[in-house]
């Protein structure tokens, strides 16, 4: 029989230590503990799982080889990528990585505000930075992602208004809509689509007004829309929705808020979105973190399901302390009587986003937004010159994403993207299955990481392919 193995992550796996522990407990073996489990419920066989890869070096090699995949593995650094749609390739500053990788933050849990004081302050500052960006007073600790944040917004709106139907713009993300419908079903069983103009891509105000009623809790739209359009009628939307006694919930892209007006200014009741673009690496979609924000009014605060960290005095004068605001709302305090459920969500990404916004400052966010819009405008202009290509598909202003309609080329987006891939370019998201009404269209995303030569490389490649 092989010698018992000693595991580097399990200090007491050394046989002598294990024996000393058994002696102290006064048992022969660990089976004397496991006899609490009836024999017929015990697993009698050895697990059949891969490994062990005991050496850290071997593990590293193994994982690196998986990522490399014999040269077939690729990412948006190795290739030029134009994929977005809720996970975006923005620059990740070194300071953000350094802070997010601090073991103190990384390996902590919720903690308490004395021994984890720094983490609570970092969370408070994250919420505070988001509040400035959004011009709203109350920002939750991050939930899973934008989909969950939008779904939470719908449920909050339903509770605040006492109504059980929701309107949404047809230009929002189909995946987020799916998330909302499933999550909100018990409170909001009915979701009704509001159309958008086929030419401009802007929300059809007449359709919105026609569908508003005293049963509608909320109208949800995105600014910019999933399909890229920057909505120009926010004030009119707010006026119409409020006139019907409903709330306006909007999904926003925080990277746009240096140049696009804050939802708190034009009167949104609930704003939500994702922090991933604020310095969190994409991680194949794992970089997400959802925010929900409102003004600081009790009727809104009372309906947040999330933890809310507030600043509060301690027994030492002048010291900032922190605590959980209105804790009774949460399921940690009130189980099923709470506002929805609460659990481990995405706090670390909030800390990262707070560091990012502190680095960027007002000027950084303005320049970021301006530079992205210039790149997008440049690429739109160049793509529009290609025969049979309509870019953008809609005439509304564009921030960083836009629909490119390839229908006029007679080619399928799937084939175009396969051909681009051979040239080490990830073309825009193929919308032909996700949004079949749009024909052979793709959603392109441009950020500050793109240089002119990146954009030109795409245009040159498309010229060859089309």
């Amino acid at each position: 029989m092989a010698e018992p193995e000693v595991f580097p992550y399990i200090p007491n796996s050394v046989p002598e230590i294990r024996q000393r522990m058994l002696d102290k407990i006064g048992i022969e073996s660990v089976e004397d503990i496991y006899k609490e489990i009836p024999d017929h419920l015990r697993l009698k066989s050895r697990l059949n799982t891969p490994g062990p890869i005991s050496s850290e070096y071997d593990l590293k090699r193994h994982c690196e080889e998986l990522l490399e995949d014999g040269g077939n593995g690729a990412d948006c650094k190795k290739y030029i990528g134009f994929l977005g749609g809720g996970i975006w390739n923005h620059y990740v500053p070194s300071v953000v990585t350094t802070i997010m990788e601090r073991d103190e933050f990384l390996s902590s849990y919720v903690g308490e505000a004395f021994a984890d004081h720094g983490k609570w302050q970092a969370q408070f500052e994250y919420a505070s930075c988001m509040a400035e960006l959004l011009e709203m007073d109350m920002v939750n600790t991050p939930t899973y992602d934008w989909g969950m944040a939008s779904a939470t917004s719908i449920r909050m709106a339903s509770r605040i208004t006492g109504r059980d139907a929701a309107l949404y713009a047809g230009s929002i993300s189909p995946d987020r809509l799916s998330c909302m419908k499933n999550y909100a079903w018990s409170a909001v069983p009915e979701f009704i689509e509001v159309g958008f103009d086929a030419e401009t891509g802007l929300i059809d105000l007449d359709d919105l007004k026609a569908k508003l009623s005293d049963e509608i809790a909320v109208f949800y739209f995105e600014q910019p829309a999933f399909l890229g359009m920057v909505e120009t009628q926010c004030a009119e939307i707010v006026e119409a929705v409020h006139a019907a006694g409903a709330l306006v919930a909007v999904g926003v892209d925080p990277s746009s808020l240096g140049v696009i007006e804050a939802p708190g200014v034009w009167g949104a009741d609930i704003a939500c979105g994702d922090v991933q673009g604020l310095g969190i690496p994409m991680q194949c979609g794992g970089g997400a973190g959802g925010f929900v924000a409102t003004q600081d009014e009790e009727k809104f605060t009372a309906e947040f399901p999330s933890l809310l960290f507030g600043v509060t005095p301690t027994i030492v004068e002048g010291e900032y302390g922190y605590g959980e605001v209105f804790f009774e709302r949460t399921s940690y305090a009130s189980r099923e009587k709470a506002k929805d459920f609460l659990g481990t969500m995405a706090q670390l990404h909030g800390i990262g986003a707070g560091v990012y916004l502190s680095l960027m400052g007002p000027q950084g966010m303005v320049e970021l937004g301006e530079g992205i819009m210039q790149r997008a405008a440049y690429l739109v202009g160049e793509l529009g010159k290609l025969k049979g290509v309509k870019a953008p598909k809609y005439s509304a202003p564009v921030f960083k994403e836009f629909v490119v309609d390839f229908s006029g080329t007679g080619k399928k987006v799937a084939d175009i993207n396969k051909a681009l891939l051979k040239k080490k370019i990830f073309g825009g998201k193929d919308l032909s299955e996700m949004c079949p009404d749009l024909g052979q269209s793709a959603l392109y995303c441009v950020t500050e990481v793109h240089t002119k030569s990146d954009l030109d490389a795409l245009v040159t490649a498309l010229k060859e392919i089309l």
């Binding site: 200090p11 419920l41 799982t49 990585t97 902590s108 509040a131 027994i315 990830f426």
Partner: protein, 521 residues
């Protein structure tokens, strides 16, 4: 054996750090974003300036204006005012399985080939990541005995919500959803086992434990019926007590036409020991961030990997990760017409899955079992040490062992000294330890303390923690004010005005609100 060091001279970093907003000076900058370049700028001009009135932001966001070094040092200070499981023996967080989070897994997830991958890339270019997803699903299937898993839920409560959504779809399809509108849980199961199904639309029936602390089978029999949609339970419960009749609970619910869900938040102690399928459950979740060694991140990102039997698999959120057995290639399957839809964007917390995959293959099958066994041994060794702590006891299940954790009570000490668990948990912080987890609400066990010394804690850690509890318990008699006013040596002190956190006129969750409401700025 290494030294057992009770850190009497400990003092946490206390930087008395200002808010980042207070460090702001107009015009100072922390980082410059990359400009698009002259050629683009000349060609397109100032595009943002062309935005219509009302769309263009009028005044820049009032973010802090701080140089890079001071942003870095500010957040380094804040990190130093934080404890984590890699920093100190964080066995205090019962039910949370605060284990070591290996550094190698951080290096791996920072690899640009992962960090800069987009989930909509062609499947051909992310085969390695899909391999990890697929393989980790196989590992969970083997550990649980169930047939399929989704790795998309972002945490345990989200896993439970996903299960509730699937159970809803299952009953709806059978035409029984209106009738089957109740979910049963037990008081010592995690609050999410009540709150998540409630969010999905179910009424909740909570079973109180028997006098001996075990879940009450007769009480279950009294409440099941044609209205029962499901039962959501944890085993071992948050008391560390294993319910030996768990399969009978499952049978009772199945006989009534209900579905059985096992919340395996406390599953660290069962890997390779007992499987959820063998107790008859239909669905379960694992808290990947607890059991599989990934960092908790202050409360996420995590993953509540949710598994089920085949008959529920078609309801799983899309996409699933599939393997083409002919080519050996992995692909994402979006064509799932019965799916409940999306519960999280894209593929879920891919960084958590990568780390968990690396952890699980490093441990191997024997390592998974060693993890379970050592969490049971550590807990029972630790409880031997706690027998020396004055007045401390762990109620219920007399003569039976706790598996991976124990819910203890300071009730006797509180009665004698007036010092309660909320005081003691703060005082523990003065010895370089995280405050301990008392209990979710309501406190069924009076003055509770829940500790979970999982496998990555050493004997020395356990001895140190037990000695600190002894010291504090003695202090409760000799010097109660020191305990009641604790902490004294942590990064910050006791809150002075708890009630203000519930006062709409006083609470402030952002600097903006603080300035307006408190500073009257």
């Amino acid at each position: 054996m290494g030294i057992v060091k009770v850190r009497k001279n400990y003092h946490q970093a206390r930087w008395d750090e200002p808010m980042i907003f207070e460090m702001s000076t107009p015009g100072v900058r922390g980082i410059i974003p990359p400009a698009p370049g002259k050629e683009i700028a000349d060609k397109v001009g100032d595009v943002a300036a062309g935005l219509p009135e009302g769309v263009k932001r009028k005044s820049p966001p009032a973010l802090p204006e701080v140089d890079q070094k001071h942003v870095l040092s500010h957040y380094l200070h804040l990190s130093q005012e934080t404890l984590g499981s890699n920093v100190h023996p964080d066995l205090s967080q019962g039910t949370c399985t605060m284990k070591y989070n290996p550094r190698i897994n951080e290096d791996l997830t920072l690899d640009p080939r992962f960090a800069y991958s987009h989930p909509w890339q062609d499947d051909e270019t992310i085969q390695g990541i899909l391999h990890m997803y697929w393989t980790f699903e196989q590992i969970l299937k083997e550990v649980s005995g169930l047939d399929r898993f989704t790795l998309q839920p972002g945490g345990g409560a989200h896993g439970a919500f996903t299960a509730a959504s699937i159970i809803r779809a299952y009953h709806r399809e059978r035409g029984e959803l209106e009738q089957r509108n109740e979910v049963i849980t037990t008081m010592f199961s995690h609050p999410c086992d009540a709150a998540s199904p409630a969010t999905a639309g179910f009424k909740i029936v909570t079973l109180m434990p028997k006098e001996d602390g075990y879940p009450d089978l007769d009480a279950l029999k009294a409440v099941v019926g044609p209205q029962t949609a499901a039962i959501f339970i944890t085993n071992p419960e948050d008391t560390g007590i294993y319910n030996p009749n768990v399969d009978k609970f499952v049978d009772v619910v199945h006989d009534a036409g209900g579905v059985c869900y096992n919340d395996q938040a406390n599953g660290n102690v069962l890997m390779g020991i007992a499987r959820t399928r063998d107790a008859g459950f239909d669905l379960c979740h694992f808290n990947v961030h607890k059991t599989f060694g990934t960092p908790h991140g202050g409360s996420g990102p995590g993953t509540g990997a949710m598994g089920c039997r085949d008959e529920f698999a078609r309801f799983l959120p899309y996409p699933t990760v599939e393997k083409d057995e002919k080519t050996g290639k992995y692909y994402l399957d979006y064509d799932r017409p019965d799916s409940i839809g999306k519960i999280k964007g894209f593929l879920g917390s891919a960084g958590v899955i990568f780390r968990a995959y690396a952890w699980a293959v490093m441990m191997g099958p024997d390592g998974l079992r060693e993890t379970a066994e050592m969490s049971a041994l550590n807990n029972n060794y630790f409880l031997e040490l706690l027998k020396e702590v004055p007045d401390l006891y762990w109620p219920y299940a007399e003569g039976h062992r706790r598996l991976e954790e124990a819910r203890c009570s300071w009730e006797r000490l509180t009665e004698k000294t007036g010092v309660g668990t909320d005081d003691i948990l703060r005082r523990v912080g003065d010895f370089g330890l995280q405050h301990y987890w008392s209990s979710h609400h309501p406190w069924v066990v009076p003055e509770p303390m829940t500790l979970e010394p999982c496998e990555t804690f050493s004997v020395e850690d356990l001895e140190e923690y037990a000695q600190v509890l002894q010291i504090v318990a003695r202090e409760a008699y000799d010097d109660p004010e020191t305990v009641k006013n604790a902490p004294h040596k942590c990064a910050a002190h006791k809150r002075a005005a708890e009630e203000e956190l519930d006062d709409p006129a006083k609470w402030a969750t952002t600097w903006k609100a603080y300035k307006r409401k408190i500073l009257k700025d």
